[in-house]
């Protein structure tokens, strides 16, 4: 290790080793703390696309944080949670008082809006099934899923909003996104 090159390699690898795979954080594309120009610009479409990535990035999180531990049950829970969804699903999350979306104006979705949203979804050709999922149910399933996974204990019932769960043919995707984009009462649309 006497050459400059050798000493440099050695020093760099020691410095780099300070970061371990367990230090790699969640890929969070929404709330960048200070990155210039990384603030999401206005517009529903962006929020929607970031949302999709959010879903995918969570897969990474589990993958990364799990690797390197020998904790079998935790591994299994995460792997199960990440099993691929069947066919093509869309979640239409509805406005709630706690929503960060300005279009929601800090209000819950109204009954009237609900009816219109559901009608609009059903009117899109290729939509197979529409199911309303109240937040209580979403929360219950979430808890079941993640009972063994650390880091998800402090989720409360209101954190996951009401939604419509839509199953559709792939051809329905553009139509669905178009009719939901910016519609009153819709917080966020997430296509899997």
């Amino acid at each position: 290790m006497n050459t400059t090159e050798g000493r440099l390699r050695d020093a760099l690898s020691a410095a780099g080793a300070m970061v371990q795979s367990s230090d790699v954080p969640i890929l969070n594309l929404e709330a960048r703390r200070r990155g210039a120009g990384v603030r999401p610009r206005r517009g529903r479409r962006l929020a929607l696309r970031v949302g999709v990535l959010g879903a995918a990035s969570m897969a990474v999180v589990a993958g990364v944080s799990v690797s390197g531990t020998s904790d079998k049950p935790r591994n299994a829970a995460a792997a199960e949670a990440l099993a691929p969804p069947p066919g093509y699903n869309v979640s239409v999350f509805l406005c709630s008082r706690t929503s960060a979306n300005r279009l929601c104006e800090g209000k819950d979705v109204t009954r009237e809006q609900l009816t219109q949203i559901e009608q609009a979804i059903r009117a899109v050709p290729g939509v197979r099934q529409v199911r309303y999922e109240p937040r209580v149910e979403a929360f219950r399933r979430f808890k079941e899923r993640f009972s063994g996974v650390p880091g998800f204990q402090d989720v409360r019932a209101g954190d996951i909003p009401d939604s419509y769960r839509v199953q559709a043919d792939a051809s329905a995707r553009p139509g669905l996104l178009r009719v939901m984009d910016g519609r009153p009462g819709v917080d966020q649309v997430i296509a899997e």
């Binding site: 400059t4 090159e5 000493r7 440099l8 050695d10 020093a11 760099l12 690898s13 020691a14 410095a15 780099g16 080793a17 300070m18 970061v19 371990q20 230090d23 790699v24 954080p25 969640i26 890929l27 969070n28 594309l29 929404e30 709330a31 960048r32 703390r33 200070r34 990155g35 990384v38 696309r49 970031v50 990535l53 959010g54 879903a55 995918a56 990035s57 969570m58 897969a59 990474v60 993958g63 990364v64 199960e80 949670a81 990440l82 099993a83 691929p84 969804p85 069947p86 093509y88 706690t98 960060a100 399933r141 979430f142 899923r145 880091g151 998800f152 954190d159 996951i160 792939a170 899997e192």
Partner: protein, 188 residues
């Protein structure tokens, strides 16, 4: 853990109840960016930590780079170019982070802010090398780190630094020579 992330996770999770092992259509950009992150986040965080010296900044830098890649996906498209893009974004952000720090402290050179613990782990002799590395001009430091730490090829380095291969070659040899001189002087 942000609430938003939890929602998405919820979405990702629900269908697992119903059927497993079936294929799914995930937004192409999301899929590729996610895969890239899975594969390269650790390496890039190490690159960033070597450049800026603290883990919190390194984390920010890498996250920003991937967020940027996702936003510009339409322009980048191919995984190969995407990796070059994030690398170069990481280098850029590291440069900015150092600049901000320098301005704040009003010093000409600010060595990386290794924590006391980390410093002890790295050891005296290696610290000298790192300190010398950080006295080099930014481009020279980058060329050395990309070559001897990231083990990139000349072509990859050229793309990450957005310069020609010839420039990579000359920058690297000049950098190595001045690093050697600095270490000799330190030894005296």
């Amino acid at each position: 853990m942000g609430l938003r992330s939890l929602w998405y996770m919820n979405v990702n999770v629900i269908p697992a109840d119903r059927a497993r092992g079936q294929t799914t259509t995930v937004d192409e950009a999301a899929r590729v960016v996610t895969e890239l992150y899975r594969e390269h986040a650790l390496g890039l965080m190490r690159l960033a930590v070597v450049m800026v010296g603290d883990q919190a900044t390194a984390e920010d830098v890498v996250q920003d780079a991937f967020a940027g890649l996702y936003r510009r996906w339409a322009k980048v498209r191919e995984p190969d170019r995407a990796l070059a893009y994030v690398r170069s974004a990481v280098l850029n952000e590291c440069r900015n982070a150092r600049r901000r720090r320098r301005r704040a402290v009003w010093h000409e050179h600010v060595p990386p802010a290794w924590s006391a613990e980390a410093a002890a782990m790295i050891g005296e002799e290696r610290r000298e090398v790192l300190a010398a590395l950080h006295r080099l001009p930014a481009r020279q430091r980058e060329a050395l780190v990309l070559r001897f730490f990231c083990e990139l090829s000349e072509g990859e380095i050229a793309r990450a630094m957005r310069v020609s291969r010839g420039t990579v070659k000359s920058t690297t040899s000049r950098a190595l020579a001045s690093l050697g001189r600095m270490l000799e002087e330190d030894a005296r």
